[in-house]
């Protein structure tokens, strides 16, 4: 099944896990699955309507999902999703 990589800032919202297995055949289904299992994480991944935020970029392997079909992009069991929220510290 595809995996979802979380940055360290979000791992406390997923019981400390930084890599999660997800069920789904699209990016959106995989994200939904993770959001269902970790409700506190859910609002950090997408908005209330399930749409992506403009300040959280999600990568399917090394591609920004916005350019390959968004949440509808198909995922394979060996794929990796990475959640990359905007951070501004310096």
């Amino acid at each position: 099944m595809p995996t979802v990589n979380l940055p360290s800032v979000l791992t406390p919202l997923a019981n400390g896990l930084h890599t999660l297995d997800a069920v789904g055949s699209t990016v959106g289904e995989a994200i939904d699955d993770v959001a269902r299992r970790f409700p506190s994480l859910s609002p950090r991944l997408r908005d209330e309507h399930g749409a992506p935020y403009p300040f959280v970029t999600i990568y399917l392997n090394d591609e920004d999902i916005r350019f390959i079909g968004g949440f509808g992009a198909p995922v394979q069991p060996s794929d990796e999703l990475s959640v990359v929220p905007a951070v501004a510290g310096g």
Binding site: P7, S8, P43, P54, P85, A86, G89, G90
Partner: protein
């Protein structure tokens, strides 16, 4: 030093003694004498002399960059010293530009420093950045990041980007010819309050060292034309689990800065954080009712019964706590609602007020009517009510 011994920033010619100073560069074929001269001629503007700007300035000075511009309005605070290695204990209270100037002069007296002791703004950005070849973004807030991005796109100057939070870092090169920009990656910043600042969320002290030196590396590569810069690629670092990844960064044809070019000046660049995001997000992160620390103190002293809920993490609770408060970390709030009485008035606090504002919204959404956010968190409580509570 005799004038004939001074390096020449116009031609890039090295002074005789500098062949030894830069010998380890000169024997690298990717840099060599031509590359070192290019470094000598180069003018790099560092926006921010803090966590990222510190290692970047140190290494760019050591590398022989001819002119370093530094933009920072701040003074050195003791809490900076865990990561801002440009400054030392004896510099506490000094302007960062002054301590930076001294440190850089010690590392390499051949570097010319131009200091700008101001906050970068739409009003001064053009004037400050004029004539610089590369801008290095070491700022600590979204508004200035978008300003730096738009400035670099409009001027056609590469923006060597780095950003950090807790254990995570990002680096890239934006606004290079035909390359993407920051707005291609993040069209909008998060609503205020969603992402805590390093002052509240924390940052591993060595992390800006990692990312800032990556930025210095990229600046040197751009100047010397060595190797393959991080244009069109985003470097992601997780120092806690040591995961790193380089992902593709495409230029967005609909990007208002480098795509459609509808951003033609900087008049709105700093307002990005005030620009309304998606309506539902705004609703979630709208302002919450607050109580002043002195008001809370007076009410407690008069015998009023209020529940004080601390939504920080246990490791923060171990540092400092408000007497009578109970710890319910934000992530476990929903699962522990039964511990709270809807009949009682509740004051929620965290370190500075960001996380507790989220908690207030969640409690109100769960039906708790009389819930207040402690303004400024335990930080202000310590300053205004009880100085025995340590600040951190």
């Amino acid at each position: 030093m005799a004038s004939s011994m001074l390096p020449d920033r116009t031609t890039g010619d090295l002074a005789p003694g500098e062949y030894i100073r830069y010998s380890r560069h000169l024997i690298l074929p990717e840099i060599g004498v031509d590359g070192q001269r290019a470094l000598r001629r180069a003018r790099v503007l560092l926006v921010g002399a803090g966590g990222l700007g510190s290692p970047a300035a140190l290494y760019l000075a050591a590398a022989g960059v001819g002119t370093l511009g530094l933009v920072d309005f701040d003074t050195v605070d003791v809490s900076n010293l865990q990561r801002q290695v440009l400054h030392g204990t004896r510099d506490i209270g000094r302007h960062k530009l002054d301590s930076a100037r001294d440190r850089i002069a010690d590392i390499n007296p051949g570097v010319h420093v131009e200091g700008f002791p101001v906050r970068l703004s739409a009003d001064n950005a053009y004037e400050i950045a004029e004539g610089f070849d590369v801008v290095l973004d070491g700022t600590d807030n979204f508004a200035t990041r978008y300003l730096v991005n738009d400035l670099c796109v409009l001027l056609g100057v590469p923006n060597v980007y780095g950003s950090i939070f807790r254990f995570d870092g990002q680096a890239s090169v934006f606004a290079a010819a035909n390359g993407p920009c920051y707005r291609c990656l993040y069209r909008q910043p998060p609503p205020a309050g969603l992402v805590p600042a390093c002052a509240e969320g924390g940052v591993l002290g060595v992390l800006p060292g990692l990312v800032g030196t990556i930025q210095a590396t990229e600046a040197i590569k751009l100047i010397t034309r060595a190797g393959t810069p991080l244009i069109g690629r985003l470097l992601l670092v997780d120092a806690l689990h040591w995961r790193q990844r380089v992902v593709r960064l495409r230029r967005d044809p609909e990007c208002p800065a480098c795509g459609t070019r509808e951003i033609r000046d900087l008049s709105h660049s700093e307002e990005v954080c005030a620009v309304p995001g998606p309506t539902d997000v705004d609703a979630v992160f709208a302002a919450v009712p607050e109580i002043e620390p002195t008001t809370l103190s007076s009410r407690l002293a008069s015998g009023e019964l209020l529940d004080i809920v601390d939504v920080r993490e246990p490791h923060e609770w171990a540092i400092a706590r408000i007497a009578g408060a109970r710890l319910i970390p934000l992530a476990s709030l929903e699962s522990r609602l039964s511990e709270l009485s809807p009949e009682r008035e509740i004051v929620v606090h965290c370190k500075m007020g960001g996380r507790s504002a989220q908690a207030v919204r969640r409690l109100r959404a769960a039906g708790f009517k009389r819930v207040w956010n402690l303004a400024g968190g335990i930080q202000r409580w310590s300053l205004e009510v009880d100085p025995k509570v340590p600040t951190y």
